[in-house]
Assembly symmetry: C2
Homo-oligomer: 810 residues x 2
């Protein structure tokens, strides 16, 4: 596509940055990688710019986060200085590239960079180990020339140890002679004050002629200079060795080496955070030599390779395979669940519904992670049943109490899904505390607060029950109240007065009650089961009588009873959410769902531009005030652009209705690969080809431009829709493989290798398509099985094993 | 001092930036100017970098604020491109200076810059009008050469319209053909969403050959470039004319002109914010031509010149004259009260005690401003008597409720001072609403909240009464409770449990009750007067029995009853606040106050380094936890550095005790002029010579380094101590001039020209010193007057007039 492409196994994305006379050719925006473990991580763009955090990607950044896509500044940098000529350049494409071609490669768990200049090959690998709170940068220098190279290698990191850098920083730096490292503490870091940040520089394979350091950023960069030409890189300058308090703080290291012709050296730079001196000694001790460092890189890569290889698909559609076979699972776990940070947003907090939905997409391969996430979110529910809209995990443990109506319902929704897939109903018996805090005042929409333990515990079933019971509301039309927003945060004034109702919430609740009722019954909680059944019956009526608009489903009712998303409206006449969920929920007659999805097809799918819009036409001049959504430019984000999260549900609904030709085609359309296949589409879409974007602009002049990549729940939902709805592969009760494909007639079939949630059972699934799409024959290891409700349903024996499942479609 | 100096009238500071081969010579840190009117302002450093705000300097920045003193980045910039050679440079010293000498000049209400290059003289003036919300930049180009100069002039501003720039901005830009201006709105700006930001470019005196614009920052700067070398400045590039939504937004203008030999042109660039189209048309209409612009500059300069010329002093000490005759009043009103923003802090909010104290320093020259500030603060008091520690003014009107014990007391303290000086006791009858909000929970230290009108009003007397009544607490030693901090914010855990007591609060309260009692009596509020008198008598006892440590006064008692600031302590053995206020309060026998100030002299004044420390030794390893002060590095800020605010009180106390030799000497030592007289002292102190700094580092290796300039309440207090305590000039009841100098014996005398608070009475005061310091003779217009209690006390007739007062000291 003019900038790069996927490696042959699809798990690396290679970006070529050729020198073009006055600079490197670059992608239109920073194309980043998010490299994280559960407590630590780094962001790196194709130039090597980015930042490092520990414990909290917003509140405890070790180096500066930037979201300026124009300059993509370097708060961290690496330099080489030729000690003979005085020439200075960066072995990464930024901040001061040499006039040669560079190559950047983002992989799962690491990024690497390469350039060659005057016979000096420079190969850099950046990664974080699977568990240790440290960023490791490994620079391999090889002299292929015929003359010795006398070099100084510099690493530089601006220190933050807070959210943003402070001009008058309280950071105190020191040099630890025993461990040969720079350390920094920030007594003003509040809840994070206990951390010790450290960095070191080591060289393997060659003698170090000189080693110098400095924590003095003013001296390193120089007044009115910047990381592209620091003062300390001037010829002959040696780092000044200053540490202590009262500096504008940084970590800078300088090592001087001479490479003979044919000789190689490997420089390794660590940057991390520990909680005390003991941990520091132990951590440094785990990386005594190059073998340990290379083993840590291998271990990190192996972790991701193993994780993503649990589902491997081969379909006729590369835009599906490239995403499903690695990148979206990586995006989902690494960026969404662990890092909670990317270029366009760096919140650090857990969103109640966000990471629950993300975790649901992992149940097919790592149900233990899904389980842990469910229990974590349950522990952020108030005694009253409502939940923190988002919260910062410890040491902060503070969050936002709101009146959003849907947040709490994702707990039973995801719990029921988890139980259906794994069969692990015992999760409902887990005992989890409730939290307590001030109630919101009348008229108060939200409050940032520090909740306290309530002293009251309940099992997960009780947590789900309170969420449901609090949600069984009914407004004037018998539909659930919308509060200060349902799924759509921007519709925060539709139901703010407490009267407005949400049609989508009706569908959502109908589906959850349907999923949850059997669980109530299985636990003998007849009172609840009866209440849920009765509410659900009333809801079904209300959805039909007040949800249906004539040609499609309405979206909501304002506090004053005016419908929203109705043919009588000039703006937001139709909203995708209500149509998709009419089908997903099963709440409405099939014919109505078909008609609703026809309307979605006609009004919201824009194949020319490759978009599925959230609503149309966008809000612009409506006299009614739906909320801050109206503040988005028409066609942008929730206001009528493609909001990919909801677009995935449209595909899910298509598949649910058996629209075989459409589902896979639209799914592929949503893949970032489809938006970046040519130089022209890259120039329009701009974002990374290997990470799904939260939204795509829907109006001229920016139609088709990606808005916000990486930090989006659509990574998880796209994966689920691809695997469960289109390829039709699901597990029930942990051991039953269900295959019910929904693929176009021109697909000859597809192949999936799938390791079950137990981690030891592997299925090789071969689907052959006769063209009509329905399952007509199933074999397990060559033995024909009976069909069950039109699907292949294969009960696998317990214990480890490898099975071959063949499915033939008519 | 190697970088520049004051102009002959002292009201400008000129910074020379000679070209030194590889760059300009610059001061060690950004030396800024804060140019503001009550609703709008700009910051500009010596390079021309800075930012612009409207309505709120933190929450509604038009362009980016930075506090990186190393790079001092340009979010706003001006460029010239020679259209013959393609050469590009900035007419300001940044971001890309030509290789010539530059000159920057900060004045009261404006900054100007000058350079000359190849016969082209470039003179830039930056200012804001007295009232209009607009930044005006006036660039005068004169061709002194013999060849015509074909030039493009570019102005550039990155748009923020929020606190920080956003990567995915909702800002919508447009070009208004009718007014020839760029406009921008940000519907996502929350409470500030109504604003329309605009910019234009005009040229006077010459024909414009071409005019182009763009709001497309990506195109202007270029990917991976920066304001020092924007893509749009490449030879021949014309701005692309793009506006609309979905851009990384900026305002950029290009005007093309050709200057014949001898010809001049003046380019004017406006940047402002209005609330609607009508205001926009009206504002633009007020600046139709160069005369109007020059008149606005003259008006702004005249405002400040008039204000500062109300007190003009001539003493033997330039370090006093330079500050008192202009800069500190400018810093106090412009930066502290109006801008509430500077390089090291940009809070935008009013601090309850902060701006009250600042306003108190204006009572001698602009009592109307003091009055308005008192009423504004009174309106931010809760029904319960406590107050918002700080708050953002409208449209936000949100702030922090805390348990600080001193905040509320500044209201009666400053009100009593205002009444004493002006005689305007009627202010006590002003009717002001109380606010209401949730009370803090037990254990909760603070909450950011939106208060509501309580519906209850009270006169200012009632507001003061509630503040006092809430403060008449007494702990185990009979001293006032400290809460989560008294004046020293960092001592927030001394009395957090509700038991800890503050000795300083005792002195402070004693003084306030003394000032306020006559007001209560005058209003016939005998109940209160009796309560105050009785509390004050008990307090006097308690201060003597539990405040005195043996050689000085203690600072406080921890919750557990352990004393703080006692000889038995290893750290914080002595604290300046308790010593100074023992004298200022009048609560203790004179001998004790003398002994306390001797101890302050011995332990806290460090003449070698020019410091008055706040406490000594600093907290470092104390097992007790006084609060976050312990988190400051030892010797920094409140933790044992010079905290200038408190240092001023030490001088005030010295003068109060009649220590004539010390008071003026220490006062001069605190002047920034004394810290910047030589290249060596500038290299150590680093900050501006023309603005007082909040703190100075107290320990090696940074002793003597200024920590935080401009945004500090010490500007107002230094002025008061200089005028009232050292020169001994005060007004009582609006018309009585009291002169009681406290000057060293080697001063021959001094002269003051002082326009009274009424604005129409001018006194020329000549003090001649016989060497013993006491007032022995007074003449009014040549007529000898009787002495009153050892002071000159001159009752001036009412009405406008000019008087000559001569005072002879023995």
């Amino acid at each position: 596509n003019g900038h790069g492409g996927f490696s042959s196994d699809g798990r690396e994305y290679v970006i070529l940055l050729p020198w073009e006379g006055d600079g490197l050719k670059r992608p239109p925006l920073p194309w980043i990688n998010v490299i994280a473990n559960p407590r630590f991580g780094v962001l790196a763009s194709e130039t090597g710019a980015g930042y490092t955090w520990s414990r909290n990607s917003q509140a405890n950044r070790l180096t500066p986060w930037s979201n300026d896509p124009v300059s993509d500044p370097h708060g961290e940098a690496l330099y080489l200085r030729d000690e003979s000529s005085g020439a200075v350049w960066s072995p990464l494409p930024g901040p001061c590239p040499a006039p040669v071609d560079y190559r950047a490669c983002h992989g799962l768990g690491y990024s690497s960079f390469r350039c060659e200049q005057a016979g000096l090959i420079q190969e850099t690998t950046l990664f974080v180990p699977r568990e240790d709170p440290v960023r490791i940068l490994r620079l391999c220098l090889t002299n292929r020339g015929t003359e010795p190279h006398a070099l100084s290698v510099f690493s530089y990191q601006r220190l933050v140890m807070a959210n943003q850098p402070q001009a008058e920083s309280a950071i105190v730096t020191a040099y630890d002679d025993r461990l040969d490292i720079l350390t920094a503490t920030n007594p003003q870091a509040g809840d994070f004050a206990g951390g010790i940040v450290f960095a070191n520089a080591r060289v393997f394979g060659i003698e170090v002629e000189d080693h110098a350091y400095s924590a003095d950023r003013l001296a390193f960069i120089g007044r009115h200079r910047d990381p592209s030409a620091p003062a300390a890189l001037e010829p002959g300058v040696r780092l000044n060795g200053r540490v202590g308090d009262g500096l504008d703080p940084c970590f800078a290291h300088q090592v001087r080496i001479t490479l003979a012709p044919g000789e190689s050296a490997i420089c390794v730079f660590l940057l991390g955070e520990v909680m005390d001196a003991t941990e520091l000694t132990a951590l440094i001790g785990r990386y005594p030599d190059l073998d340990a460092i290379d083993a840590a890189l291998e271990d990190a890569r192996a972790f991701w390779t193993d994780l993503v290889s649990r589902v491997q698909v081969e379909t006729p559609e590369p835009a599906i395979d490239l995403m499903l076979n690695g990148w979206l699972t990586y995006q989902n776990l690494g960026c969404r669940i662990w890092a909670r940070s990317a270029f366009y947003q760096s919140g650090g907090a857990f969103g109640y519904r966000d990471q629950l939905q993300d975790a649901a997409a992992l149940v097919a391969i790592r149900p233990d992670l899904t389980r842990a996430q469910i229990l974590l979110h349950a522990a952020h529910q108030f005694q009253e049943g409502d939940v923190l809209h988002w919260w910062h995990p410890e040491p902060l443990e503070r969050g936002l109490r709101t009146r959003f109506s849907d947040d709490l319902l994702w707990l039973p929704f995801v719990a029921a899904h988890y139980i259906r897939v794994t069969g692990d109903a015992a999760i409902l018996d887990e005992n989890i505390p409730f939290i307590v805090a001030d109630l919101l005042e009348p008229g108060e929409d939200e409050r940032y607060l520090q909740p306290h333990p309530s002293g009251e515990n309940g099992d997960l079933y009780e947590h789900c029950r309170r969420a449901l019971d609090r949600s069984l509301t009914a407004g004037a039309h018998g539909l659930p109240l919308m509060g200060t927003g349902d799924w759509n945060d921007g519709m925060n004034r539709v139901g703010r007065e407490g009267q407005g109702e949400s049609v989508w919430m009706g569908f959502f609740l109908y589906r959850i009650l349907g999923d949850f009722l059997p669980l109530s019954e299985a636990r003998g909680d007849r009172t609840s089961a009866e209440r849920y059944r009765s509410y659900r019956a009333d809801l079904e009526q209300a959805l039909e009588s007040s949800g249906w608009d004539g040609d499609w489903y309405r979206r909501a009712y304002y506090d004053d009873g005016t419908p929203l998303g109705s043919a009588q409206d000039a703006e937001c006449r139709i909203d995708a959410l209500a149509q998709s969920w009419s089908a997903i929920s099963g709440a409405v007659p099939l014919a109505r769902a078909e008609q609703a999805m026809d309307a979605l097809e006609a009004h919201l799918i824009d194949e020319a531009n490759g978009l599925i819009r959230l609503l149309a036409p966008p809000f612009a001049g409506t006299p009614k005030d739906p909320g801050y959504i109206k503040g988005y430019v028409a066609g942008v984000r929730e206001n009528g652009g493609q909001y990919t999260h909801a677009a995935c549900w449209a595909v899910m609904a298509m598949a649910g209705l058996g629209r075989r030709e459409r589902a896979a085609r639209l799914l592929a359309m949503l893949s970032p690969v489809s938006h970046t296949s040519t130089p022209e589409t890259v120039a329009r879409y701009r974002l990374e080809p290997y990470a799904v974007a939260a939204d795509i602009y829907g109006t001229q002049p920016h139609v088709g431009r990606g808005g916000w990549s990486w930090y989006t729940g659509s990574a998880g939902w796209w994966s689920r829709v691809a695997l469960e709805s289109v390829l039709g592969i699901e597990i029930e009760g942990g051991r039953t493989l269900v295959v019910r494909p929904c693929i176009p007639s021109d697909w000859p079939g597809y192949r999936v290798v799938y390791r079950l949630p137990d981690g030891v059972t592997e299925c090789e699934i071969q689907v052959d398509n006769g063209g009509l799409g329905g399952v007509i024959e199933v074999w397990l290891d060559g033995v024909a099985l009976a069909l069950d409700a039109g699907a292949a349903r294969v009960n696998l024996p317990s214990g480890a094993g490898r099975y071959r499942v063949q499915v033939r479609l008519g």
